[in-house]
């Protein structure tokens, strides 16, 4: 072996590292153009008193348009309904102004700027975490409350240093709460005494769910017998599955996304593990059944925000279908509930002239029932403790299993 060859191999190693770094950072810069959309105003004609202006900052076009459009339908339905019933505060009606954030954080900021200029008392949306982050500073400076229907990132309401963002609220629970729900389901419905956890060490989402599952499960006096870690994108889970199998758990909790977990479920079943396998809402999208196989997915359950075939949603579903001619999805439900939260808070505050009173009313909303279930907003974190649903895979089809209320 001569030194020239050694040098070449060292160079190769460096290049390899460089290639990995390059492959890891595909970023796109959102073009920052002013929004050219004209606001679509709605609502009835003003009755007694001025209308109450509410802004929608939503993903109406772009990659997340499906979320934004569903959310907007839900919000409109709630406001139209309360307007048709005569409004709030002795006949004041809601007037909603919709702004498109094009599914981009930069556009969300300019949409918020525009809505603040329209003197809205509150902004509903955006649906996605990144777009909400771009609006926090603006709504805080202008004392406008913002309710995101589906932004789940914990950092939206609580900053890195633990301080509260006082003007930000949400209608959904944050990700780690799902771990608590899954643990309670394993304990109460499945009667599990022991559990194994396998999670994606790279994803905050997965780590958060695994931690909260473990805390809740162990707080009930039961044991987590095995904790295995993997990295998103791994294909071969057999070694860790053998480790789990050797500890003989009653349930396995695998809170990552559908593609990793689909492979995990298939390989676990192949290894002869027949115990129930649980997951988070990362299982809800994508072709998990195609990856794992319908038969392997039997006896698996996952936590989701809402389920449209939940019987308690029947009235909402029929109203929604009558209004839009299509079935609602989870985002429509959360959009509807964020509007209900605002309506309740306006009633409770007794007026909209004082932004601080409206903010305090939202913060102290207390126990509150929306379409997605009962919730109570924690004044310390602005995160709602609320009911979640458990869905079961039966021969490849998601079936509503039960609703789990917060403890």
């Amino acid at each position: 072996m001569n030194s020239r060859k050694k040098r070449t191999l060292c160079t190769l190693m460096l290049l390899l590292c460089g290639a990995l770094i390059l492959a890891g950072c595909g970023t796109t810069t959102p073009p920052a153009q002013p929004s050219g959309n004209t606001p679509a105003a709605g609502g009835g004609e003003p009755a007694a008193g001025e209308p109450i202006n509410v802004g929608f900052n939503l993903e109406l076009t772009g990659s997340s348009a499906e979320f934004g459009l569903s959310g907007q339908n839900g919000m409109k339905l709630a406001f139209d309904k309360v307007n048709a019933e005569g409004g709030v505060l002795d006949g004041r009606l809601f007037n909603y102004i919709s702004a498109d954030n094009k599914s981009e954080a930069g556009e969300a900021t300019s949409a918020t700027t525009r809505l603040v200029g329209e003197n809205v008392v509150a902004i509903l949306g955006p649906m996605t975490t990144a777009a909400v982050l771009g609006s926090i500073q603006l709504v805080t400076d202008n004392s406008v409350v913002l309710i995101t229907p589906s932004g789940t990132n914990a950092r939206l309401t609580i900053n890195e240093d633990g301080t509260l963002n006082p003007w930000i609220f949400r209608a959904c629970f944050i990700d780690p709460f799902q771990g608590e729900v899954a643990a309670n389901f394993a304990l109460d419905a499945l009667g599990a005494q022991t559990a194994a956890i396998a999670y994606d060490i790279v994803g905050d989402y997965s780590v958060g769910l695994a931690e909260s599952f473990k805390t809740t499960f162990e707080a009930a006096g039961k044991t987590v017998v095995s904790e295995e870690r993997f990295s998103a994108g791994d294909t071969d889970f057999r070694p860790i599955i053998e480790n789990i199998k050797a500890t003989n758990p009653d349930v396995i909790f695998v809170p990552a996304y559908y593609n990793d977990d689909g492979r995990f479920v298939a390989q676990a079943r192949d290894a002869g593990l027949t115990v129930p396998i649980l997951g988070g809402d990362g299982w809800g999208s994508g072709d998990m059944v195609g990856i794992a196989g319908a038969e392997n997915m039997n006896n698996t359950y996952y936590v989701d925000f809402v389920s449209i075939d939940d019987p308690s949603l029947a009235e909402f579903v029929s109203e929604y279908e009558a209004a839009y001619g299509r079935a609602p999805d989870g985002f429509s439900v959360l959009g509807y509930d964020s509007a209900l939260m605002l309506i309740e808070a306006v009633k409770k505050a007794g007026g909209i002239e004082d932004p601080e009173a409206l903010r305090a009313a939202l913060e102290n909303l207390g126990e509150f029932t929306g379409v997605s279930g009962t919730m109570s907003i924690d004044p310390e974190t602005h995160n709602p403790a609320k009911s979640a649903v458990i869905l079961e895979f039966v021969d490849g089809v998601k079936v509503f299993k039960q609703k789990v209320d917060p403890k």
Binding site: T8, A23, R229, T235, R238, E242, A246, D270
Partner: protein, 297 residues
């Protein structure tokens, strides 16, 4: 840490051999190309990815059975390998090795993001091409797919050994790897031999791609990166340029990975693989089977 029962150890060994066979198949392509033109073909893992997509198209869209789909994918990728060599590497044969290496990385990105553009980054699933039978041999669970992986790998390796040892093209390949200029003087068409090497290596990668796709049931445009790097480690571990070394390196790497995971350090699995690379480069840069002088095919 799991308790060490005999069945646990045996099952983990089986898992290691099955994943190691895949690494070995890909490593063969790396090592053959390196043996001939001293190029680390970083696009090799992506050729495997293309093979997986061809296999997917054959089974999911054309409803072909497993074996014809495997052969079609191998054929398509051997053509692709030759085209890549002719278009991207041949014009650079007289330039520095670094230029060719950078080009290989470029080809790799081209294939990855070209496929992302063509077929979307969405993961796809194979239709069930194998029976989902699981054989219970004693305490072991052996999947039908495990048997297919190991059988196909062994068959291809045996075939490759025969080709390299006993055929005219195999002799020519060994001659070119020994001394390109002398081989040319003896009347060997060096360009054809290099093309043949790329064709064979790419066909083996395609076989690995189809096996991975069918076994793990998910394919995506970036699926080639990790297995490609691991196979590179396997090739260096066994001694780059040496065919039996690639087989040995692949199996050793697969078993090491499983060992690391089974010992409860699953997050260190990939780190373990690359640690092996560093240790080999420091302690025995020619690899397990490497001689201290020249590399041979």
């Amino acid at each position: 840490m799991a308790n060490l029962s005999v069945e646990f150890v045996l099952q983990q060994l089986l898992n290691g051999i099955s994943i190691g066979s895949i690494y070995a198949l890909i490593a063969l392509g790396y090592t053959m190309v390196y043996g001939i033109i001293q190029l680390i073909n970083f696009a090799h893992g992506d050729v495997m990815m293309i093979g997986a997509y061809v296999g997917w198209y054959c089974t999911a869209v054309l409803h072909m059975p497993f074996l014809p789909a495997l052969l079609t994918a191998m054929l398509a990728c051997s053509l692709l390998g030759v085209v890549i060599e002719r278009v991207a590497y041949k014009p650079l044969r007289r330039s520095t090795r670094l230029a060719a290496l950078i080009t290989a990385i470029g080809v790799s990105f081209f294939l990855e993001y070209g496929m992302m553009f063509l077929v979307s980054p969405q993961t796809r699933t194979f239709p069930p091409v194998f029976p989902q039978t699981i054989y219970h041999v004693g305490p072991l669970n052996i999947k039908y797919g495990d048997i297919v992986i190991i059988t196909v790998t062994l068959a291809l390796m045996a075939l490759l050994t025969l080709v390299v040892k006993y055929t005219r093209i195999g002799k020519a390949m060994r001659a070119v790897s020994f001394d390109k200029d002398a081989a040319a003087l003896m009347g060997i068409d060096v360009n054809n031999v290099i093309s043949a090497t790329f064709a064979i290596g790419s066909a083996l990668a395609a076989a690995a791609g189809v096996l991975i796709g069918v076994y793990y049931n998910t394919i995506g445009p970036l699926m080639g990166i990790m297995p490609g790097l691991k196979a590179f480690v396997a090739a260096v571990l066994g001694g780059i340029g040496i065919i039996p070394g690639a087989m040995l390196g692949g199996l050793a790497l697969g078993l090491t990975e499983v060992l690391v995971s089974a010992a409860g350090f699953s997050t260190w699995r990939d780190a373990g693989a690359f640690l092996i690379l560093i240790v080999v480069l420091i302690v025995k840069p020619t690899g397990l089977l490497g001689a201290n002088t020249r590399e041979k095919v």
